[in-house]
């Protein structure tokens, strides 16, 4: 379990994370939603040691984040941000092999090759495994990065806006696979996401943030309610239930 306690973070005098307390369990998909500048990515970055916090604690499996050796932590927790340099020309398979780095320090063993192959097959990337990333579509690239995170074989997977710039088909494909990672492989998957309906239909839990604070955290039924979302987004909302899933209408 990842436990976040009393996290605070300031950027240039502005609180981007204020007194945040939350926990993430294995086997569940948790979405972090909220308007721009609410502190979603900040929280994700602090939890994954990409960003230093001003105060508070993050416990990964009971141990404080700063007490983890960074290369040991890399076997427990994987994080994917949107800021990768895509000018670098790697094949899909080479990229996925990076995921094994924390385990084998670059000398791939038979197990590593099996894990890489499994990730490629699991996410249906066999046909493009030897293609260069810069020749792929946005969705294929994103899948390749998710396969890399999968090969890293961690209990916790943190993804920052995995649907960024993807079309509907690829978004669905990514979300379905995120769900499989959590439910079939018992990982805790945490995603920062803007599309509320994808969050509603594919998450187990949702955290809604506003102005650096957690507005509400709970399961989908608790968070996806018109009154809650209206106060988070300052926009009128209508929530309808279709086939047991809540869908938001806000146009």
């Amino acid at each position: 379990m990842i436990k976040v306690e009393n996290i605070n973070k300031q950027y240039a005098g502005k609180l981007v994370a204020s007194n945040i307390n939350v926990a993430f369990e294995k086997g569940k998909v948790t979405s972090i939603i909220g308007p721009n500048g609410a502190g979603k990515s900040t929280l994700l970055s602090i939890m994954s040691r990409l960003l230093n916090k001003d105060s508070g604690n993050v416990y990964v499996d009971g141990t404080e984040l700063e007490k983890w050796a960074t290369n040991t932590l890399a076997k427990r927790l994987a994080v994917l941000k949107q800021s990768n340099n895509l000018n670098m020309r790697f094949t899909v398979k080479e990229l996925i092999a990076f995921g094994r780095f924390p385990h084998s320090q670059g000398k791939l063993t038979d197990t590593d090759h099996q894990v890489i192959q499994h990730a490629i097959e699991y996410l249906d990337l066999v046909a493009i495994q030897d293609k260069y990333l810069d020749n792929l579509s946005g969705g294929q690239k994103q899948l390749a990065f998710i396969a890399m995170v999968m090969a890293q074989d961690t209990d916790y997977v943190l993804l920052d806006e995995p649907l960024n710039n993807l079309d509907i088909k690829h978004s669905l494909q990514i979300m379905k696979n995120i769900r499989r990672l959590a439910h079939e492989m018992n990982k805790a998957v945490v995603i920062v996401i803007h599309d509320i309906n994808f969050a509603s239909c594919y998450s187990d839990n949702i955290i809604a943030m506003k102005n650096g604070e957690i507005a509400i955290a709970g399961n989908v039924d608790q968070v996806i309610q018109a009154s809650v979302l209206e106060s988070v987004y300052d926009t009128p909302f209508k929530v309808v239930t279709l086939d047991n899933q809540h869908v938001c209408v806000y146009y």
């Binding site: 040691r49 994917l80 941000k81 800021s83 080479e94 990076f98 670059g106």
Partner: protein, 295 residues
């Protein structure tokens, strides 16, 4: 090939003069060419990965000029240009400063990075030239930095062997350097210490590039074009590219050296001239290709 005749027959017959020529002049020259070409190309390759920019190289990041500054300082402080540690140190500090600078500024277009690097290099070079004027050392400086393999004899070039351990260390750190090339969060996620890897990379680049400029002189564009050609055909997997980059770099310098020796035989032109011309052309082609790809 050279001004003095050297035939294979005289070598086979163990003519001492021929062997002397081979050992003291021809062989050192060949080795110097190969080592300099390979070392500088690897330096460019590493530089491009750690700075996440295809147009970064020792000649577009101020490394060479900082090495010249180190040479000048060594000349002033110790009376000769032999204080290796000082030359390496200034090259490392300068390159590190440049890498930090470009990491703290987000550039909309990658082409700004080499431009800033060249400006940065020019500023340092002006300082060096100013010092050289002031202390009447301009000739030392231009002799030192103009690339020419003709004055390399046995005993002069051995420092270039430093490229060999540097290349081995680069190979050992290849995966880490590549991960750093993809991004800071990417590298941190894999449990790497980003700043540490960048520093190691900068040290390797600076030592290799400074050694080449010290022994041979400036070989403009080499560190820029060779890695780009390899990357175009083979991708950016550093481990895989390292041997090919070294090989191609060595070959390019060898060919340019041969041309510069033939063209006004029995005299020689400085090899940097040919590398500049060919390198400049290839650089423009790479730029245009990239523009075409972006559209």
């Amino acid at each position: 090939m050279g001004v003095s005749q050297l035939s294979i027959i005289s070598l086979i017959t163990l003519d001492p003069a021929a062997w002397d020529l081979l050992i003291t002049s021809r062989l050192p020259r060949l080795l110097a060419i190969l080592l300099a070409g390979a070392g500088l190309s690897i330096a460019g390759l590493v530089m491009q990965q750690i700075s996440q920019n295809k147009f970064a190289a020792p000649s577009t990041s101020g490394t060479i000029e900082c090495a010249m500054l180190g040479y000048m300082l060594s000349l002033l402080i110790f009376g000769d240009g032999e204080a290796l540690w000082l030359i390496f140190l200034t090259a490392i500090i300068g390159t590190l400063a440049f890498v930090k600078l470009i990491q703290s500024i987000q550039f909309k277009n990658a082409i700004f990075v080499p431009l800033i690097g060249i400006i940065f290099g020019n500023i340092i070079e002006s300082v060096v030239t100013f010092i050289a004027y002031k202390f009447d050392a301009l000739q030392n400086l231009s002799n030192w930095s103009l690339a020419n393999f003709s004055n390399i004899l046995q005993g002069d070039f051995e420092l270039l062997y430093i490229a060999v351990p540097c290349a081995i260390i680069t190979y050992l750190y290849a995966n880490q350097i590549s991960a750093v090339g993809i991004g800071k969060s990417f590298a941190t996620n894999l449990g790497l210490k980003y700043g540490q890897i960048v520093t190691i990379g900068v040290i390797l680049v600076s030592i290799m590039a400074a050694t080449v400029v010290m022994i041979v002189g400036e070989l403009p564009f080499l560190g820029l074009i060779v890695p780009n050609i390899i990357s175009y055909y083979q991708g950016d997997n550093l481990k895989k590219n390292l041997p090919n980059t070294a090989l191609l770099g060595a070959c390019v310098v060898l060919v340019c050296d041969l041309i510069s020796r033939i063209i006004i035989f029995p005299y020689e032109l400085p090899v940097s001239m040919f590398i500049s011309i060919i390198g400049g052309l290839v650089f423009i082609i790479l730029l245009l290709k990239r523009e075409a790809n972006d559209r």
